[in-house]
């Protein structure tokens, strides 16, 4: 472990394969980190050796990329610290190659005022692990009625506005949120599900019918996105659809982008990795919101990541303890603890030749940084030294029992993956190194 941000000696990361999605750099080379920032980088840097006084870190030919930016996580702090804390999530994120994460405001209390935003920032400073940003609630107490102090919250560091796991359902409220947020160039992040249609436990279809579970039709997502896109056109606001899961939704967003609307979206790895059959015999670890969809939807999501319609991949980290999941399926909480599996599950798209390594990394680094206006996500002179060293090929089996997250709710137990994080660096500090 190196020292603090300002006390650390300059460090040279040599013998690396440099990967920077933003500048399309993919070449052997080195990075010089000084004072927590990238001071220099390139293929010829330190070609004649590392000078005296600079610490030398040999990357062994592995990939050095910007640290991942996970734009959708639930930290459970404050309020549900038995499921996760900013510290435990920080360790889990570091192990996952994540250097910045953006927390949802659905805590207890809800992050809907300046004090809440400051609390998260303070706890993150104390934890001193990965960088933690937070969304603020779009409406007070997430009740979907009165908009929050968007301007003040943004001034105090809120990175976007969302009602978390709840859709902003009222069209007038959504219109005003989009419209008002324009004042401060803030983005509204929607959980795109029409609530009246989303009162079910899994995707509507044969599997739900066999299991006797209430279904959620794909239309629940498409209807909300279609409506929101019209409100975006009406207001000129900035809109981001979270965790899209259906072919219909990505098609709507594809067309909106072609029309020039200021619209972005993300998905989570489970939506291009699993389909509704993962529910099997009531496996609550495969219960997520929105639900896992059909195989055709899964394919469409993977395609939309590949063609850039989906801008970003987020873990949608939703830690839950055993009690929340060891329930009859309809009563179980939705969500997957995803921080530690974000990179390897996403790399499957690269290994399946759906898209190149740089394009895949862009979904996890530069694009979410751009959407939320975050520093990091780039290998560039002057950028924060938020780095991830990884081997994109190394095969391993996911084992949730070994998660550093406080919660182990993952449907990917013994799921074979390729690609492993070797080290994670935040502001020049090594916050994670693999055991090998």
């Amino acid at each position: 472990m190196s020292g603090a941000k300002n006390g650390a000696p300059p460090t040279a990361y040599v013998s690396a394969r440099l990967l920077d999605p933003d500048s399309r750099l993919d070449a052997p080379g080195a990075v010089l980190v000084e004072g927590g920032r990238i001071a220099d980088l390139g293929p010829r840097l330190f070609a004649d050796g590392v000078p005296e006084g600079i610490r030398r870190v040999d990357c062994g030919g592995h990939c050095l990329a910007p640290g991942l930016i996970d734009m959708r996580v639930q930290l459970r702090e404050p309020g549900e610290e038995h499921k996760e804390t900013i510290v435990t999530a920080g360790h889990a994120a570091a192990r996952g190659g994540i250097t910045s994460m953006v927390a949802l405001p659905n805590t207890e209390p809800v992050i809907d005022d300046v004090a809440g935003v400051e609390f998260i920032a303070r706890r993150a400073r104390e934890a001193k692990l990965v960088k933690v940003y937070t969304y603020a609630a779009a409406t007070r107490r997430l009740e979907g009625q009165e908009i929050t102090e968007i301007g003040l919250l943004a001034e105090f560091g809120a990175r976007g506005f969302t009602d978390g796991l709840k859709a902003i359902a009222d069209a007038q409220v959504m219109r005003r949120a989009l419209s008002y947020a324009r004042t401060f160039d803030q983005i509204i992040v929607q959980h795109p599900e029409e609530p009246a249609l989303a009162d079910g436990a899994m995707n509507e279809g044969e599997v739900a019918t066999r299991l006797g579970l209430a279904g959620i039709p794909a239309a629940a997502e498409a209807i909300m996105i279609d409506r929101d896109l019209r409100l975006v056109a009406l207001t000129g606001g900035r809109y981001h659809a979270a965790h899209v899961s259906t072919a219909a939704a990505v098609e709507a967003i594809r067309q909106a982008k072609a029309r020039g609307l200021r619209v972005t979206c993300d998905t989570a790895p489970h939506y291009f990795t699993l389909n509704e059959t993962a529910v099997g015999a009531y496996r609550t670890f495969a219960k997520v919101s929105p639900p896992l969809r059909t195989e055709a939807d899964r394919q469409a999501i993977a395609e939309a990541v590949a063609d850039g319609t989906i801008d970003a991949i987020a873990s949608d980290h939703s830690p839950h303890d055993q009690e929340a999941k060891r329930q009859p399926f309809a009563n179980a909480e939705p969500g997957i603890a995803g921080l530690e599996t974000l990179l390897p599950l996403s790399l499957a798209l690269f290994h399946q030749d759906r898209l190149g390594l740089l394009d895949m990394l862009a979904c996890l680094t530069s694009r979410p940084a751009t959407i939320l206006g975050l520093p990091g996500g780039r290998l560039a002179k002057g950028a924060p030294a938020d780095l991830m060293l990884f081997d994109p090929e190394l095969p391993w089996l996911i084992d949730p029992d070994t998660f550093l997250s406080k919660s182990k709710n993952s449907p990917f137990d013994q799921h074979p993956v390729q690609g492993k994080v070797l080290a994670t660096v935040v502001d020049g500090r090594h916050i994670y190194e693999t055991e090998t």
Partner: protein, 322 residues
């Protein structure tokens, strides 16, 4: 498919629990029905009680009210000589989940041999079966399955029609919420009957045709040529505007009366899992017509079928004694 085979069967039933009909093989179902036949005779004789299950404890664990199913299981257990205990847990008044697992663990510590479980949530009985080390019988879980109901329906049909294979059965009403419908669809399908479902689309689950049934929205068309008309109960809370507009409209289009029944075969028989809503899904006279209605026989077959299930599932505990 004959009620009692000419050759001796080994009455094989490899499953440890009876959680559902889906996945059971035709011969496993036939074996259960054949065994149930012998209990029909026993129940009608002067000597109703045996000591086959002597020393075994059966707990009826009901998280949902059901006087008739619970009574049927209780009688079945007692007629086989088991010690039967009834436990009712008010599901709505307690915190969910924790109590299901906690209750299961508590009961498990008392070493019952069989748990008979009714629960309002789909999959809850499977979840419970994973936490205990006794035999579990599903007495109805949510909208998922009610296997002993399908077995007693099959036994009733077989006794009146002599077979299941080749019959046409119409299941009418609230298919969406019905565990009885799902179990019957699986059972009748695997036994070679043709199954039709008929309901307004608001009461049909998505992709129901993928379960191998023909879908109808019109009662007379659905009943045309049917051997069996199986009516389902419509819950009160679904009658007024949420799934159907009114009782009056529902009965007019989907309630079984003599006029609609005339579309079926002349010897078509009527079934209902009970309790009936007279004048909602079925005409009151028709329900009581002993020439057409099998509703009371279904209740009788229920006890016999549940005796057969208790018998077959406890066989490993009894050292495979026949």
């Amino acid at each position: 498919m004959t009620p009692s085979g000419s050759r001796s069967r080994d009455l094989g039933f490899p499953q440890r629990h009876l959680l559902g009909i889906e996945g059971l093989a035709a011969d496993e179902i036939t074996n259960l029905l054949d065994r149930a036949e012998s209990y029909v005779a026993q129940n009608r004789s002067g000597q109703k009680k045996t000591d086959l299950l002597r020393g075994l404890t059966v707990i009826n664990l009901f998280f949902e009210n059901s006087t008739r199913t619970r009574t049927s299981f209780e009688l079945a257990g007692k007629r086989l000589g088991a010690d039967v205990i009834n436990m009712s847990v008010s599901w709505s008044s307690i915190k969910k989940g924790e109590t299901l697992i906690d209750t299961a663990m508590t009961l498990n510590a008392m070493h019952p041999d069989v748990l008979v479980v009714r629960h309002p949530d789909s999959g809850a009985v499977l979840l419970l079966s994973e936490k205990v080390n006794c035999v579990v019988i599903n007495a109805g879980d949510g909208s998922h399955e009610h296997p002993t109901q399908a077995l007693l329906d099959a036994l009733t049909i077989r006794r009146h029609k002599g077979r299941l294979e080749g019959l046409t059965v119409a299941i009418c009403g609230d298919i969406l919420h019905s565990r009885v419908a799902r179990s019957n669809i699986h059972l009748l399908g695997v036994m070679g009957a043709r199954v039709r479902v008929v309901a307004p689309p608001t009461l049909l689950p998505a992709a129901i045709e993928r379960l191998g049934v023909e879908v109808f929205y019109d009662m007379r068309k659905a009943l045309a040529g049917c051997d069996i008309v199986m009516m389902l109960r419509l819950q009160t809370e679904r009658m007024h505007g949420s799934f159907v507009p009114s009782i009056r409209e529902y009965f007019h289009f989907f309630g079984l009366d003599r006029d609609k029944l005339s579309a079926a075969k002349d010897d078509a028989l009527i079934m209902h899992p009970g309790p009936m809503n007279r004048g909602v899904e079925i005409d009151s006279d028709l329900a009581d017509d002993i020439d057409r209605s099998l509703i009371r026989q279904q209740v009788e077959m229920g006890v016999a079928v549940r005796m057969a299930c208790l018998d077959v599932l406890t066989r490993p505990l009894r050292g495979n004694a026949p």
